[in-house]
């Protein structure tokens, strides 16, 4: 069976794809930064990430494009949306934007760093080498990862385990063990409490309601 050879993409097509998805990435980033509502920011981040995955594919990094979609769009953005949903209205913090002084400082810092970056990279010229068929495939990247990069790979595994355990420890919080009746919303006591509309919090009224019935 002959191995299929990839046709090199036409440079015009590559340019068109680049311009389209670059514009989409910038729009997504602006949406993330400018939206008042954090859920809209999350949608902006999603658009940004999908556009970047398309740019990775355009660069021939197929494996990284798939990883970007799986981990960023599939896990990180979903995690953000999950936390926003969990917080509910509290995710919209009042007085979100900063005052005019802070904005001026931010504008100066960003103009400085961004301008410096743009000025530096403007004239970078490199000859693009021919892309081999195996460039960026899972096979080649994986074998690099497991040969030369095996130590960082194992260390990143340890880092992720520590991060997961730490996230559990931080997010769990400290709360004392409550009796089971308090936790179960369908218990008799809870239902009696709900019927007694006058004072929802006090367990004494719930007891009283039970006594009446």
């Amino acid at each position: 069976m002959p191995t299929p050879t990839l046709r090199p993409p036409s440079t015009t097509l590559e340019m068109v794809v680049f311009v389209f998805f670059a514009a989409l990435a910038v729009l997504g980033a602006l949406g993330t930064v400018l939206s008042r509502n954090p859920i809209r920011s999350a949608v902006g981040l999603f658009v940004h990430i999908v556009a970047l995955a398309a740019l990775y594919l355009n660069l021939g990094a197929h494996f990284l494009g798939v990883i970007q979609l799986l981990i960023y769009a599939g896990a990180v953005v979903v995690l953000f949306v999950f936390v926003i949903m969990l917080l509910g209205p509290a995710a919209n913090s009042p007085q979100d934007g900063r005052g005019i002084g802070w904005r001026a400082v931010a504008a100066a810092a960003v103009a400085g760093i961004g301008g410096m970056l743009l000025f530096t990279v403007r004239y970078v010229q490199m000859a693009m080498p021919e892309r081999t068929d195996s460039y960026g495939t899972m096979n080649v990247v994986g074998s690099f990862l497991f040969k030369q990069g095996i130590l960082p790979f194992e260390l990143i595994g340890v880092t992720l385990v520590i991060a997961v355990v730490g996230a559990f420890a931080i997010a769990r919080g400290k709360h004392e063990r409550r009796p089971l009746a308090d936790a179960d919303p369908t218990s008799d006591e809870k239902l009696a409490e709900r019927d007694e509309a006058s004072d929802k919090k006090s367990p004494a009224t719930a007891k009283k309601a039970e006594g009446h019935s």
């Binding site: 340019m15 980033a29 930064v33 920011s41 961004g114 010229q125 693009m128 880092t159």
Partner: protein
């Protein structure tokens, strides 16, 4: 018109600047975390673009250091998002808001 590496580098600088500006201006800690993700993504784009323009070494094999580096950055970013959101949740539990200005428990 052929595509050159500086197209990718200029786009990456622009995206990094947008992320940095958002991080400095917004006070919602959730949006601040998203802006960190924007900056990390901009760096990943630079790494992968440079990897594409990297010439084959003497043996004729194409090196993939840049892509593997970007892979590690993605893994660290995922860990960072998980930990950051856990901190946001515990901040909400104490203060009932997610504003970064209210995260001053160690100052009191």
């Amino acid at each position: 018109m052929t595509i050159q590496i500086h197209h990718y580098l200029i786009l990456s600088a622009l995206l990094f600047s947008i992320g940095a500006a958002g991080f400095l201006v917004r006070r919602n800690s959730l949006v601040a975390l998203m802006c960190i993700e924007l900056m990390l993504n901009a760096v990943n784009l630079t790494l992968i673009a440079f990897n594409r323009w990297m010439p084959a070494n003497a043996g004729g094999a194409v090196p993939h250091q840049g892509q593997v580096f970007a892979f590690f950055v993605i893994a660290v970013a995922a860990a960072e998002a998980a930990l950051g959101l856990a901190i946001v949740l515990s901040l909400y539990r104490v203060r009932k808001v997610v504003r970064t200005d209210d995260a001053n428990l160690m100052k009191e």
